[in-house]
């Protein structure tokens, strides 16, 4: 499997990454090579292997439904670039 120019553009857009037009073909080549490497696994016989969602053979531990967190708004917002009346401010999102 290989990625072409437009695949890379789409992935970059979904990841919100700004790519220089001149870099795109190089990325397409590099990413295709990585996919090629992974493709080597295709030859392995996986008929008797159970699909795995996680490398650890353990089950998720569950938490009791209790409120354990207290308000740390001031500390959390101390590193935010812009805050007003308790809200984080971000560049306007237009619907």
């Amino acid at each position: 499997m290989s990625l072409d120019h437009s695949d890379v553009e789409k992935i970059a857009h979904l990841a919100r990454m700004a790519l220089d037009e001149s870099q795109i073909d190089a990325y397409a080549k590099d990413l295709s090579n990585i996919l090629g490497l992974v493709e080597a696994l295709e030859v392995a016989d996986t008929d008797h292997v159970e699909p795995m969602a996680h490398p650890l053979h353990m089950a998720q531990r569950l938490r009791q439904d209790q409120v354990t967190e207290t308000d740390h708004r001031e500390e959390n917002q101390s590193i935010a670039p812009s805050v007003e009346t308790g809200l984080y401010l971000v560049p306007q999102v237009i619907e």
């Binding site: 938490r63 354990t68 984080y88 971000v90 306007q92 999102v93 619907e95």
Partner: protein, 477 residues
């Protein structure tokens, strides 16, 4: 051309836990912005989500209630997209192996017709925060209190063929999650949200048409209106030679129309993958059993029991079991000694009307089921008439005590002593010779006049049955 409507619904039910799905922050509604958003909810580096046990149990209860397939394993996935109210850049949701698999729900339509609607799946996920677009000097304000609130997303099959069916299904899901105690059902506060997928196809055609997804619907009335508008729009569009475009449309209740949401169009590539921060969840038989044990009687079972045990009509049983508080109130009234049919009537008509007028909910009723039961017992044993009972009800409502003390204090006891009634009747007959002659000459409607006179003389306390019987005897004789 005749068009067939095809509708499927996605319901987001906010689960009624105390804390968030993956953190120990509170989910209480209405707190100051960002005071209930901890570092897990904010997606700080190095934090790990830990799943809330109660959210799992609540999802299982829903699954059991719709007879769904429930697998032994369930996994969480990341749904990737960028939006400022989603701090991590992904929402933890489920893709493969949702906690609740295929199930079904029977809905009730007019005239006792029922229809089974397939449920595709229901999965657990975290809610996003809220964006406030009011003007903050050209910026958007973000409140992340809601981020991480547990949601159960319930996806139906495209099985509904009319707007009526869609509304009936949404109401039934609402009733079910509230009965189960897993969601408070408050649509204004966004605890219960409905997205609708609608498409049309020529009647008799197999392949589905292109669908649009309607969002931002926060009441059943708006659901009906949004679907009506969208159905008309699609039919007009296709009949004038156009084509429906697959897109997300926002319902605007003020203008009663749906509008295209352009920003969502290109974002539909979520690149789901299993979340490496969360291990697979194992649903063992003990957990499933415990969820089953903890389930209340469901609306359909309750309705059937009300019909058979209390001898109620299907209609009355259906209305009484509409909400769990009302069904409980009715049962407590019967337990307090009331006749079941009388209790059904009084709970729905008299009490329901009074509560409605006062703008009160049943759980704030000034009249307790024990008091109502006590009152109805006195109608049944002829202590008071149905008419006097309404007076007594008002007095109980105003806090004058229970039925027996109101009847005693106000001297409302029905006169059943036929000697006393006979004396009054004799007086009425003696005082109205003209009417007596007219009655005897065949003007039988005048019976009502005499009953009225007797009731006036007894201040409504004479037993109407007794009065009628004695009057007829005296007048005809």
């Amino acid at each position: 051309m005749q068009w067939e409507t095809v509708i499927g619904l996605e319901v987001h039910a906010q689960l009624a836990t105390k804390s968030k799905i993956f953190s120990g922050a509170s989910i209480a509604y209405g707190a100051e912005p960002n005071t209930q958003a901890c570092i897990v909810d904010l997606g700080f580096p190095g934090v790990l989500p830990v799943l809330n046990e109660e959210a799992v149990n609540m999802a299982l209860k829903f699954g059991l209630a719709v007879n769904a397939e429930i697998g032994e394993r369930s996994i969480f996935a990341r749904k990737n997209y960028f939006y400022p109210d989603l701090p991590k850049g992904y929402q933890i949701s489920q893709f493969e192996l949702p906690i609740v698999g295929k199930g079904a729900l029977t809905i009730d339509l007019d005239d006792g017709v029922q229809k089974v609607i397939g449920i595709t799946r229901a999965h657990l996920e975290e809610d996003a925060g809220k964006s406030l677009h009011e003007d903050f000097h050209g910026m958007t304000g973000i409140d992340l209190n809601r981020a991480g609130t547990p949601l159960l997303e319930i996806v139906s099959e495209p099985d509904m063929r009319s707007i009526k069916e869609a509304v009936a299904y949404a109401r039934k899901i609402h009733q079910l999650v509230v009965y189960l105690g897993i969601c408070d059902g408050n649509m204004q506060e966004g605890s219960f949200r409905v997205d609708a997928n609608l498409s049309i196809r020529p009647m008799g055609q197999e392949p589905m048409g292109t669908r649009t997804e309607l969002k931002n619907i926060n009441s059943f009335r708006f659901l009906e209106r949004a679907l009506n508008y969208e159905l008309e729009r699609q039919i007009d569009l296709v009949e004038s030679g156009g084509q429906v475009v697959q897109e997300t449309r926002l319902y605007d209740a003020d203008r009663d129309e749906t509008r295209s949401m352009r920003s969502k169009e290109e974002a539909n590539d979520y690149r789901y993958f299993p979340d490496p921060d969360l291990l697979p969840v194992e649903i063992n038989p003990a957990r499933l059993d415990a969820a089953r044990q903890d389930m209340p009687e469901l609306p359909d079972q309750k309705r059937a029991r009300f019909e058979s045990d209390f001898n109620l009509s299907a209609d009355d049983a259906g209305k009484l079991t509409q909400s769990r508080p009302q069904a409980d109130y009715f049962e407590a009234t019967v337990e307090a000694g009331a006749d079941s049919k009388m209790a059904a009537n009084w709970v729905m008509v008299e009490l329901g009307g009074a509560l409605n007028k006062a703008g009160l909910e049943l759980n704030n009723s000034p009249v307790s089921p024990q008091q109502l039961g006590g009152l109805l017992k006195r109608i049944a044993d002829n202590t008071i008439s149905g008419k006097i009972a309404k007076q007594v009800f008002e007095a109980i409502w105003k806090g004058e005590g229970d039925a027996d003390s109101v009847i005693e204090a106000r001297g409302l006891k029905q006169i059943t002593d036929s000697g006393a009634i006979e004396a009054i009747i004799a007086e009425v007959i003696a005082n109205n010779p003209k009417q007596v002659d007219q009655f005897r000459a065949g003007k039988e409607k005048l019976l009502g006049f005499f009953v009225g006179q007797v009731m006036k003389a007894t201040q409504g306390k004479a037993s109407p049955g007794e009065v009628n019987k004695i009057l007829l005897g005296k007048l005809k004789g």
